[in-house]
Symmetry: D2
Subunit: 342 residues, 4 copies
């Protein structure tokens, strides 16, 4: 922490800042500059809250130095976290050099639609099945999901194909129920800072896929993961799914530059969702390929047996044949970049 | 709804779109243009989901025409919604020409701090008391609020000053408890699209203050309000509290242009939170004055008896004397613009 | 400048940073923290370029402390800069407590249209005439302005009404020509970091109105003004005209919170353009009133005798009667906030 | 164009809109809906300016249907534009399946530094040399480039290595001079809507590399290219270099989703600048690989023989050895995706 004083700050004001540092149990260091003085703090075991200082008379700015995350930090834990889930028919891995493929319908609509999608993506090499039973929708008049019925359909799809199930939970009171059916609990972008929900999933012992908030900074994204890990659940998969920008032609702006940056900062695996990240089926395959080339640990792709009839996000869903072609191109790139693909 | 075809779309593709319109029970109108053809839809009672069309072969774009909100629309209900809450000592009003003043500490820290703030803001003319008992914080290591204890302190402050209490709820399972103590339930910016929470507060019969999500468009903001009203709770106060932009010098960018726009689109009252909207105590009074001049129905202001010691958001809190001065200037502007102030 | 080292930086790496500081002629101060070490710099007369350090081995971050602007800083020059322009018929002032009114058509289309607008705004109290002769347009197929002919029309309008003329210059080679006809040269938002143009207008001795870039931070905005002042032209009027955000319902997001912040940081006057800032005639008057209440030094408003026929930006232009009503309401608010209005 | 009326619009208002359509020479089609009426336009040869209608009484919205670009559109010209430049020692190609590599120092500082960078990148396979002689800088106190001296150094580097030179032009009056030395003229992000400069480079017959404005939408980006092509210069290379968002950890947010979208919309080649797009040397190689996998036609990479001493943008520059390693990985991915690399 460095507290920068105004150029007209008085000696008394500087001393008051120094005293406040001492009161907190740390050491102040007055550093005279050419234009202004600053007070540095040492002796603090971790980040100091800038609010202690920023309102004191004469203070221009309180600059934090330490990063505020701890448990998810790669400095704390240098080795990659790897997620492995075994079902009776399949062992699915993501992270640590294994590029995980999560695919399936955006929403579970019917038993037939879900099983058709699951069989198709499994046949092409997917290892995890995605599918939304509880759907957060901007409009209260839009389809809200098949809920418990959808969870049962997903469980049936897992029983048949062996793929562990990734599905969203939107209410802290549903966590136990969803965890009964799902293998990975997804936190959606609109709940990225729903701390009650983050704390609820921190108490279970199943992996959590945490989507980046559409307006979350990378720091906020990691702090949200810190909530889950602090609660005792170390199995967190991060998911970059695009941020909100001024560009209207795509649904979101996929921030692939975050991938190598996040890999540097944290040991948690990160996957990319090119379907929601672009909202445009024609951009999904190029962005999935780019995610792999950028060093992501996996992708999550919407696949629907008949996108034209989809109740939710049809325009961004791949057909099974398109998904199969994507898998072929991902395998070729995986060889080029040294990533292992199923 | 207008479905615009690609310039190379075939006659069969255009007819398939027209048939899909008929299948949905509406009338298609093929409209040949110079470069391309479009298919317009009539006979629909409300918005048509563009997803029905955007994935059909040959379709370039499906353009929605109708607005998706209904119950909160000023077209549906032309008269201003006015919120009035009577406590044994005070009748507090907001909307319909009465500029509501909501003030108090960002967080309820102690009984003394909260009562001191409440007395001070009441003495200067505030009609509603704000104060957070459950605090959503970016870091799990930050102060998380005094919770139930805080609710009790707020109730005591109401008993003494007469001001109805505005406080945040962050978990659907807490709604009943918070509603027991609070007069207005606040939904925070990070929960602006937490639909489980919106549905929970739609079931109570106390006013809800809904903050705009930091990345919510005005349309999404109104759709979130629609969730609450659709559930049967008509007493919704909107709150503009700044959006996230590229500008780093302020905590958020207060979007005051949204005020007259939202007044045009909806009958619900809208207040402005200049404290969270700027994060800078020196900007709070100018922005509160600007909010009144722009036509807002009220402001919500952080006031702390001693901002330097605040556990949360001290740098944006006014001192009681600063708040009193702000009230004087608001009264002067209120006279100029024809708004009634306490 | 504070150079923060990685937690695993070696002693040699820290010493290399210290030596680099000495090589630049300043004093390094090694400051051991609990998790990591930092090196502070003193003895520097102004900002130090972080690029000197950010690529050295072991460096995590180089944090600038000093602000990079000098001549436009209020610390350098505490008193408000006031712009006064006298024509044979009128003395027009802006800044220092005088709220300046700049009004006129977005584009100079015809002699009749411009004179009609000029007479109308003058009759209602405007002191400066705006009007674009050279129009920067997103599309090469849009109306590009009446150019030299337009400048002559503006000069005629000045001769008749007495109002000094504010008009845009878009090419460094036109500066001399435009300055021959105009009293204030405007730099548009798309040229906010066109440094060749900024340097060209720094060489003339007429006031410059510098619009904020639609994606300029406040720091970049002030640095652009610094270019002009550094060249010797001290008469700069800043203009907040909205920034680009994710919100699609308004053309830009007017950042009124920047007004009190900029008044704190610089001595230059700042005006608000609610016409381009919102793109919606219905929002212009509320935002002009809000600008005055927020402490701006003036407003610039599009007024067109017949907005329906405007060749450019008709939807945001006020009719003369609407402008007259706005002036009345501004005078009332001016009295309330202690600003002087014509 | 579809003109949507308010739900309360009168018959006379609808007829006035229809008459306006006829006055413009087109055909109006009144389309009654359940809630409101709309007027569609046919017979227009291209886009109709919405400003003709949006201010008429009773009009809620004027929705454009046609895209406003023509000459750069892939609908107009379906085949990829390929850029080929031959120097006495080398034929350099970009586009049409050939992945172009542009590399060199951000700024031309000295003859030695530039030649060292040029030799190194040529040895690793680069086909185009980048280097800035005229540098647009946020601060007037920063290094502004070596200007004419720098152009001469670049010409010398071309003579020795054979690589055609890409360098920036920042003033319309410099275009002739820069074109004398350079093979490709670069328009920087801050000049992306500097229409005077765009028109100036439209008049030369050398390729132009147009960088996307940091706040340009894809539509605005293509319209800027349209300015150049409309002037008669068909050799335009687009460059995605990141957009400005709320994320502070990277200098910009590289929008790789724009690559396949732009390839769909236009025949012009598009390259990616991962150096300015991230501002972080550690992210350059992953983002260059992602750009190739996403379907870009090339990359432009900052390479400096000694990044620690760079006068400009050192933290984002690769060392020659890092660049050589990047080239190896790009060749491997190129084989996987079917792109030809040198």
């Amino acid at each position: 922490m460095l507290i920068v004083m105004h150029s007209v700050a008085s000696d008394d004001e500087v001393e008051a800042v120094a005293q406040k540092v001492r009161d907190l149990g740390f050491q102040p260091h007055k550093m005279p500059g050419a234009q202004r003085i600053a007070v540095a703090i040492t002796g603090n075991p971790g980040p100091v809250d800038p609010n202690h200082f920023s309102h004191l008379p004469g203070v221009a700015e309180a600059v934090s130095i330490s990063k505020p995350w701890k448990l998810v930090s790669r400095e704390t834990h240098p080795h990659d976290t790897v997620i492995t889930i075994a079902t009776p028919k399949l062992e699915a891995t993501l992270g640590g050099g294994v590029f995980g493929i999560i695919a399936g319908p955006c929403a579970v609509e019917t038993r037939e639609q879900t099983l058709a999608a699951a069989r198709a993506v499994r046949a092409s090499g997917a290892r995890f099945l995605r599918g939304g039973a509880f759907k957060p929708r901007t409009s209260p008049y839009s389809f809200q999901g098949t809920k418990l019925e959808g969870l049962k359909i997903l469980a049936e799809a897992r029983a048949e194909t062996g793929m562990p199930v990734v599905t969203e939970v939107i209410d802290p009171s549903h966590v136990e129920l969803v965890a009964e059916y799902a293998d990975v609990l997804q936190i959606g972008t609109r709940n990225a800072q729903n701390f009650a929900l983050l704390e609820a999933v921190s108490q279970i012992r199943k992996p959590v896929m945490l989507k980046r908030g559409m307006s979350s900074t990378i720091q906020e994204f990691l702090m949200a993961a810190e909530y889950i890990v602090k609660g005792g659940n170390y199995q967190v998969i991060l998911c970059e799914r695009g941020i909100r920008t001024f560009e209207p032609m795509t649904r979101n702006t996929l921030d692939l530059g975050s991938i190598p940056l996040i890999k540097r900062l944290t040991h948690l695996p990160i996957v990319v969702d090119p379907s929601h990240g672009t909202g445009d089926a024609g951009l999904v395959a190029p962005m999935a390929r780019a995610a792999l080339a950028a060093g992501a640990d996996g992708v999550m792709v919407d696949v629907h047996p008949d996108p034209q009839t989809a109740l939710c996000d049809g325009p961004q869903s791949l057909r099974p044949t398109e998904f199969a072609a994507l898998m072929d191109s991902l395998r070729a790139i995986g060889q080029a970049v040294g990533a292992s693909l199923p």
